[in-house]
Amino acid sequence: MTDLRDARISRAQFFRMMGGLAVAAAATACSTNPQTGGTTAAGASGDAAVSLKFVGVADQKAPMDVLLAAYKKAKASVSISVSYAPTDQVQTSLRTQLGAGNAPDLHVVYPGSGSAMSMAEIAKAGLLADLSAQAWTQSIPTGFKPAFQQDGKTFMYSAGSSVIGAIYNKKVFQEAGIDTPPTTWTEFLGVCEKLKKAGKVPIALGAQTPWVTQLINYALVPSTVYAKDPTFDDKQAAGQTSFAQSGWRDSMEMYLELQKRGYFNDKPNGTTFEQQTSMVATGKAAMAIQVSAVLPAFRDAATSPDDLSMFPLPGSDDASTVWIPAGVVVGLGASAKGKNAEEAKAFIDFLGKQENINLWAKAIAAIPLTQDASSTIDPAVESFLPFTKDKAVPFMDQRWPNAEVQPTHFAVVQELLAGKSTVDEALKKMDEAYAK
């Protein structure tokens, strides 16, 4: 025992001699953990660094790569080990870890309340650290607060918002003789008809990938529902209205009209997101109704990435009542119960600095949460900016009361596309899921 302790001290002394100031500084940092400091050999050798664990969703890899490198420079004593998984898998593995009580220090959190890994669900279980004291939280735009906050406290970090609209191949549009993107629903149908006549698939739809099924409704509902009644969410929560009684019906019918007119690729239910991406990127199809966060994936698949741009999908015949969906992009939170909670929160504070918000937003073509002179906005989403002030609504699921409505929406859209269900039945199922 004595030998062991002596050995440790001599090793620590050796490091101090060799490492000088750097090690001394790290030792000070580690003193926030007095119960481990110096009691075990691991504690002594761990003086060099605090190690945080981050579990994220695949979409977060690109911005995290950039920001982890920046954090390494700013704070060398903290290392962050990362792992990423696709949406559905990350939900399973994270919920298992959270349920078993061994949450990673930092992990992905979905905005609002509509999924099993949403900010509201996890905050309600007491598993997210309160970030309200951090400076960046003061400038969260009012409209976005429900996505970040529960009971007035901020539990999630996100770098900005993404929009849903038509990602389109400019070259294909030109070849079909279309000069400007449509601004009303009728014009949009006209554009599709022209594209179809030019022998192109007007809209690529990869409805076998569940989350893709929802996007056309998400793009239309701001115009068919919220433009008419901006307080729809509150009324629905109060039981005064429902999916079936609202413009959701129009949006579902418009969705099916696109299919009836033959504007989708053949067999959308057998087509995946990846196939959808490649159809637009290679010019086989002209458009895909998608979220701007996947623009980088479309550009990666294209031979000339500059051919790809976006425009808002006009869900109304009057251009002045076209609204757009602008949702907070998937974020991250700090574990409330981890022993490194302070270090984890410090990392989020770092992400909240304006230059880092800018870096994150750039990597995923998002509109930065807050902007300064150095903020850049992807040219592809510039056409959405005129809407973001007062004609934009968060993604619908961010206000849904439970995690069951969204998967029900996926399933009923697939049934509608397969002709196995009617709009009435579909809306009834969604209302039932909402009431659960």
Partner: protein
């Protein structure tokens, strides 16, 4: 258990004494104690503790849970999604049971014959079994591509949306599972076939029995134990089917390929209803146990009757 044509010999007295003494000093089950302890700690204990959650409304995370009695079990009966998936699960199980074992038996008879390439064929037919079910599902997503010029469509000159058409998708999944596990059934049948004494076939031939008659009256009865095992394994496999469905269709399109396992998975991890999910899992486990017991009881009695 199978053929007991020879009279049972009475063991000599000395041997009985020796066995008696050995049994007293070294009961054979002692050897199993370490394994039983591990099994109890790793499997039994968590399973039994898990049952507790079926009576709560736990979301799967956090501390908040309360005892809700039998509410979860009552909810199952009124849950369209669970009942729909039960129908899918039973249909899949029956299809897999019949086709997988039928194909397995034919393959076994084929590679049991005195072919030069039979060793190679056995390996080829068994190969899919060792591949991970998720891999198989990904592979078959390419085979089942809706593109009329590629995959199975291209090969057969068809234009079918194998995984995207709700009326076809369940059958496509069944096909995938049968493809993977027919080789497994084959190996078990093959073991049964190896155990059929040549003398019986020779005797039957002398009596003038043809190939079909020899199969019906000699081979088939002697394959009864292999059949019991195969039917039981494929029933359990079918009722629990998850990986292939989850990776290929995620229960879709709509709810067309939802099985009990995918529903209970979604309840726990997508909808955040861990307590309810555990209740479904418990019902599924009891259901599988009941079906297997009935099956074994019936098939075993048939074996003895041979």
């Amino acid at each position: 258990m199978t053929l007991t044509t020879q009279p049972v010999k009475t063991p000599p007295a000395a041997r009985v004494r020796r066995i008696g003494r050995a049994a007293a000093f070294a009961p054979s089950w002692w050897f199993a104690v370490p394994a039983l302890l591990v099994y109890a700690g790793v499997v039994l204990y968590p399973s039994i503790v898990g049952v507790f959650y079926a009576f709560t409304d736990w979301s799967g995370i956090g501390e908040g849970k309360s005892f809700v009695g039998l509410a979860n079990f009552r909810a199952i009966l009124g849950d369209e999604q669970v009942m729909g998936s039960l129908g899918n699960t039973l249909l899949l199980t029956v299809v897999i049971l019949v086709v997988q074992n039928g194909v397995g038996l034919l393959l076994a008879l084929g590679v049991h014959a005195k072919l030069k390439s039979r060793a190679l064929l056995r390996v080829i037919f068994f190969a899919p079994v060792v591949v991970s079910p998720v891999m198989v599902a990904f592979l078959w997503k390419y085979v089942y591509t809706p593109d009329p010029s590629a995959g199975l469509n291209g090969l057969l000159g068809l234009n079918i949306d194998w995984l995207g058409d709700p009326s076809v998708a369940l059958w496509s999944i069944a096909g995938m599972v049968v493809w993977q596990y027919a080789g497994y059934s084959m190996v078990i049948f093959l073991a049964g076939l190896e155990g059929v004494p040549k003398e019986l076939h020779e005797a039957a031939m002398i009596d003038g029995a043809g190939t079909l008659q020899r199969f019906r009256y000699v081979t088939w009865p002697l394959l009864a134990p292999a059949l019991t095992i195969n039917l039981m394994l494929s029933t359990i496999g079918g009722l629990k089917l998850f990986d292939q469905v989850f990776a290929a269709t995620n229960g879709g399109p709509g709810y067309a390929t939802e099985t009990l396992s995918t529903v209970l998975y979604k309840q726990a991890f997508v909808y955040g209803k861990f307590g309810y999910s555990t209740a479904i899992a418990l019902v599924l486990a009891l259901f599988v146990a009941a079906v297997s017991l009935v099956q074994v009881y019936y098939l075993r009695s048939r074996e003895v009757a041979q």
